[in-house]
């Protein structure tokens, strides 16, 4: 499912996770899974520097240890309206192939091992960014396809 190279997972608290794990994040009231192999880091929100002429899905850029990384708002990518940052708002630093981005999410929930046998194809309307759907703690869970997300942002989401 994932083309993420060099799987390393360094969540906010500093523990190193299993690259086969998934990072569960919240956007609005919905929960999504990000492939752990693509996740480099979880960092607290700070105001990104806006870049004139960019769409709302890219609210700006941040500096992460000397690298300038574009921010992608997962809310907007999924078709929800933008919202003001809260205490729980985080950037999830994703690397996929040659692309690095800071994914803006409303909260990071957990780092878990998902049973891929429970994955089902995504519903027709949401198929664009999702690799699969599943359940986690009795909630529906969308499994994000990072390649599809990046392609959608590049193509004019």
């Amino acid at each position: 499912m994932s083309d993420c190279a060099t799987p390393v997972l360094i969540p906010e608290e500093g523990q190193h996770g299993d690259p086969s794990a998934s990072l569960i994040v919240r956007t609005g009231i919905e929960w999504y899974a990000l492939p752990g192999a693509c996740v480099r880091e979880v960092i607290r929100w700070r105001a990104p520097t806006p870049v004139p002429g960019t769409p709302a899905v890219i609210p700006g850029i941040i500096n992460q240890r000397g690298s300038i990384v574009p921010v992608v708002d997962l809310r907007i990518a999924l078709g929800f309206p933008a919202s003001a940052p809260e205490r729980s708002t985080r950037f999830v630093l994703l690397h996929h192939e040659t692309v690095a981005l800071a994914l803006l999410v409303d909260a990071v929930i957990d780092l878990v091992l998902l049973d891929e046998d429970t994955f089902e194809p995504p519903p027709a309307g949401r198929v664009r960014l999702l690799a699969a759907v599943s359940r986690y703690e009795q909630r529906p869970l969308g499994v994000i396809d990072p390649g599809a997300l990046i392609a959608a942002v590049q193509e004019g989401l």
Binding site: T49, P50, V51, P52, G53, T54, P55, I58, I61, I62, N63, G66, S67, I68, V69, P70, V99, A100, L101, I150, V153, Q154, G156
Partner: protein, 150 residues
């Protein structure tokens, strides 16, 4: 006004994916930007509203802050950066010109560059742990002169 065209060659050298260049740090009402020195022909106090070019044509004058960010307005623009194009003189007003320094410019990620409505940003400089945009002032001035900006 200080005329900058004769102040020597701009120092630009590519080091991997980054470039060092001499740039002015300018302050708008809410933001700061860097502008490559080689993009600016004159700098000084903001001109009067009815100022004109040498041959009588009105100066094309805009506030830089709201041009880049509609929410970036409010403070009076006291200073100006002037770009001399072949047919027009474009004046971009800022609140303050802070400094002229050598900065290392980080290019924007292709993901971002591809989505720019207009190529007005050359890259970013890291200042106080924050990215600060480096503007392509000649491109901005050209777009203004062409009427490509409302």
């Amino acid at each position: 006004m200080l005329h900058l065209q004769a102040v020597g060659q701009e120092l630009v050298h590519m080091i991997g994916a980054t470039a060092a260049t001499l740039a002015f740090e300018v302050q708008t009402a809410r933001r700061r930007y860097f502008v490559p020195r080689g993009h600016v022909d004159q700098l000084g106090a903001a001109p009067l509203p009815n100022a004109s070019e040498a041959h009588g044509r009105p100066l094309l004058t805009r506030d830089l802050g709201p041009l880049l960010d509609p929410e970036d307005s409010g403070a009076p623009a006291r200073q100006a950066l002037t770009v001399l194009l072949r047919r027009r003189t474009v004046v971009l007003r800022v609140q303050r010109i802070e400094s002229l320094e050598s900065v290392t410019v980080h290019p924007l990620a292709p993901l971002l560059r591809r989505r720019l409505r207009a190529p007005w940003v050359l890259g970013a400089v890291i200042r106080d742990d924050q990215p600060v945009l480096v503007l392509d002032m000649r491109r901005i001035a050209t777009d203004l002169a062409l009427g490509a900006v409302l």
